[in-house]
Point group: C2
Chain length 107, copies 2
């Protein structure tokens, strides 16, 4: 998942797919690399669940699948929230001690 988003070219492909479905060669056009390379990137994105695609005739049309994006976003925000809550508690604890100055709480 994060692995898939780690590559700038792949992120650019995701970016493009945000604006709507695209064929493989459409995805390839702005990227300075072979169609072959693009297909390989695509299969990484697809394996990560970020993209789904179907072939009609000889053209494969790709579209974003936001569920994976949602999962990644969730992972991050969960951790961020965890840390920030901890941070807030610490702040509160310090403020408390600053005022009353008594029993020591253990972490």
């Amino acid at each position: 998942m994060f692995q898939a988003l780690a590559d700038p070219n792949r992120r650019q492909m995701v970016q493009r797919l945000c604006e709507g479905p695209a064929s493989v060669s459409e995805l390839a056009r702005p990227l300075e690399m072979t169609l072959s390379a693009v297909v390989q990137h695509l299969s990484v994105l697809e394996a990560a669940g970020l993209v789904r695609s179907q072939k009609i005739g000889r053209v494969r049309t790709c579209r974003l699948d936001t569920q994976a994006l949602r999962a990644a976003e969730g992972w991050i925000s969960e951790r961020r929230a965890l840390w920030e809550r901890r941070f807030d508690r610490l702040g509160a604890l310090l403020a408390e001690q600053d005022g009353t100055l008594e029993t020591g709480e253990k972490a």
Copy 2:
């Protein structure tokens, strides 16, 4: 950034750091690898802005920096929103057409 989060060991370190600051060897303990390897991972996380650390005496204490996490989260949610807005518009468009014509559509 995503590169840094791409490695499972690094994610585990981030996970640990969510629960509070830790020294390098504390971070290393649950991971089955050398201290050396852990330090290398740490420097990746630090270069990505995910972690900050300071050395006191001979122990380096590491803490999470949520700003980078926030940025990653923002990137994802921005793109997801972009796509989902598009998706909704498409749905509206289809619903609109649904009223006006009724020919056999392909599944």
